[in-house]
Symmetry: C2
Subunit: 128 residues, 2 copies
C-alpha cells in the first residue's frame, strides 16, 4: 500500500502521515524499488489507533503514551485509565467553559437591537 492509499483508508492525508513519521509517531516503513513508502496492515492498524485517539481529542504526547502502553498487553491498565480519565476531566472543563461562553454570547446577540453601532449591545459589552 502506498501512502495515498493508506491516507484514504484512514481519513488522513499523505502529508499528515509523513508528519507523523517525522515526529516519531509512526516508524519508517519499508520502501519499494522506486523509493515509495510501502505500508501493510500493521501500519494501517497503528495509524487507525492514532486517528481514533486524535479524534477523541488526545494530544500527540498522550497518543504516544497510549501506543507504547498498548504494545505491552501484560501491563496493568492503570496508566491507560489515568490518561483517559485525565483527558475526560479536561474535556469536562472545556465543556463548562464553552457553555458559559455560549450563554454570554447568546445574551449579547439577543440583546442587539440591530440599530447603530453607537447603541449596539454587543459593542457595549465588549467595551465593558
Amino acid at each position: 500500500m502506498k501512502i495515498g492509499a493508506l491516507a484514504r483508508k484512514t481519513g488522513t492525508t499523505a502529508e499528515t502521515i509523513r508528519y507523523y513519521e517525522r515526529t516519531g509517531l509512526l516508524e519508517e516503513p519499508p520502501r519499494t524499488a522506486g523509493n515509495y513508502r510501502d505500508y501493510g496492515s500493521t501500519e494501517l492498524a497503528r495509524l487507525r489507533f492514532i486517528r481514533r485517539a486524535r479524534d477523541l481529542g488526545f494530544t500527540m504526547a498522550e497518543v504516544r503514551q497510549l501506543l507504547s502502553l498498548s504494545d505491552d498487553p501484560s501491563q496493568s491498565c492503570e496508566a491507560v485509565d489515568s490518561i483517559a480519565s485525565l483527558h475526560l476531566r479536561e474535556v469536562d472543563r472545556k465543556l463548562g467553559d464553552l457553555r458559559k461562553l455560549r450563554t454570554e454570547l447568546r445574551h449579547m446577540v439577543d440583546d442587539c437591537q440591530h440599530g447603530a453601532v453607537g447603541e449596539c449591545r454587543i459593542i457595549e459589552v465588549l467595551s465593558g
Copy 2:
C-alpha cells in the same frame, strides 16, 4: 503607565501586548525619555476590548473587524451582529462535537475493568 502595569490591569503579559502591537491590533504608543512604552486610558480601554473579545473566543481577525466597527458609532450594527452570530453558531458546533466526544470518552473510561492492558476496553476501543 508602563507595559507591565497595563498587562497587570488587563490580565495579559507584556509579551502579548507587544505581540498585539506587532500585528497591528494595538497602535504604537508614545515613548518615555527612556524609550519605555507609555500607555494611557485610551489604550487601556482598547486592550480591555480586545481581551474581552478574545476571551469570548473571537479570532484576532474578528477582533480586528469588531474594533474598526466600534470606531464608527454611526454605522449600522448589522455587521457586528453578523460576526457575533456566526461565532455563536461556531461555538454551538464545537459544543456539539465536544459533547459527543465526552460521551464516547465516558463510556470508554467507565468500561475499563482496571485489569491488564490486554483486556483494556480503552485500548480495545482505540484499536477498533
